[in-house]
Amino acid sequence: MSATQLRLAGRVGALALDVDAAFDERVAVIVGPSGSGKSTLLAAILGLEPRVRGAVCIAGAWLEDSARGLRVAPEARGLGWVPQAPTLFPHLDVAGNVRFGLRRGGAPGEHLLARATEVLELGPLLGRRVETLSGGEAQRVALARALASSPRALLLDEPLASLDLPLRARALAHLLRVRDELGLPMLWVTHDPDEAMCAGELAVVLDRGRVVASGAPREVLWSRAVAPLADVLGVENVLEARVADGGAASAHASTRSGLALVLPQALPPGTTLRLGLRADEILLAADPPGRISARNVFEATVEGVDVEASVARVRCLVSGERLVAKLTLDAVQSLGLGPGSRVHVVVKAQALRRLA
């Protein structure tokens, strides 16, 4: 039997939620466009949404099962919730907020809080008033507060959505450290496929209240079932790479499968990176492009072409990595692209954004 099981149904306003998912992965990402029911699903798991009922088992613990008449109260579920807006208690300072969770957390909470304080670099923030915190700092405090309650699992609701773009990489790095170093089960809600690919071992894709696909993020976010959502989600490409050597103004990195990349800034050798690449920033050339400013040109094979309305998403295999390029139908026709076509993938170094 799977460690985590969710069978929840109910109608909340215009949303008809009907979710059925079961999995063993410790970190699962719930992905979907806005309005797909992600936050409602979290609220239902927390027991805060009385209009949604069913069965909830988190990390092996049954919290709700309407068939057996079981419905654990939200205060007894032991789930660490980090809402989209950090919702820090304004009448307490940072230390007061993080210690709030200790009421339930007890000694294990003290221990987790000590780890979280270090991992999230909270030390300098503890004496601050909450209204002086930046968005990213407030998010970290909310995360530590949830951890101090020694939860059986962490529930993160769009942890990066309220942050400005420059802050996200740092916030994501903090979240990944919590994920890797504290070892707690996590349900991580996001509308951002980049984040989904970085965050979880499993992606559960939600659309209009239903699970439309689930599986390894890399597979599932490019699957046919998700293709209709690709535009709203803005599914893009994520590459994991390691810096091999750095020049004065650029760096060379390679992915595990050996794809060599040129990056737009100098980085110390050995740095591991997650790089995001938008599908509409990739050029495909039928012939080798010759002298060109773009620093990354790869030979590739087209795996498939998904056509939606006026755009085509061309899935390419490049030295063992998959990249999706977004082209016009006209371009696909004029290059004669189809499964098996040989192409040259052209990527500006600047287009490789560092996510973490």
Partner: protein, 225 residues
Amino acid sequence: MSGSELLAMSLLTLRVGLAATLASAPLAIGFGYLLARRPFRGKALLQAVIALPMVLPPVAVGLGLLLLVARNGPLGGLLERVGLPIAFTPWAAILAAAVVGFPLFVRACEQAFVETSPRFEAVARTLGLGPLARFVRVSLPLARRGVFYGAVLAFTRGLGEFGATAVVAGILPGRTETLALGIWSRVQAGDDRAALVLCAASFVLALGSMLVAEGWLRRSRGPGA
């Protein structure tokens, strides 16, 4: 009239106002929270009933209270038996002040709770806090400014309470005669000078209370307000 008489009357007025406010606080805060947070049948009716002492003639309120706490009334008889007569004692003045101040107090509390987001309570709930702990550690601290403002309104209303007090507590010098009652009895007796002195004392008390309250509200302004 002597200085000690004036002082005693002022202190009695303050004590009555303070006791009335403190005694009605738990109920006012409770009703305010209930009205702000819980949907239930008959809510509009409850709101109307709570507002009654504010809209009825104070004398009518006083008469109603007197019927309730008089020696042969339902509550008065009971209290008489345990040796706590209320009618025409300082307790009656406190009761009258509490009742007429109650609608203002409840209204301010209700508004204060409406203005605090229920999300804070939801977060506290997921952190393991039961209903009472959530209320004491989250809801009430967040609504504290509005609750305090309600208390000030109820207190100052109590300081000036006349009609209901006169009926249920009587005008007994040294016992139930607050400043408001004192002014009336001096005017009746033709002692305009003394009435004006008591007016001045009322003025000082009212202004002082408002200044202290505003000062506190100003200092506590900011987060969670």
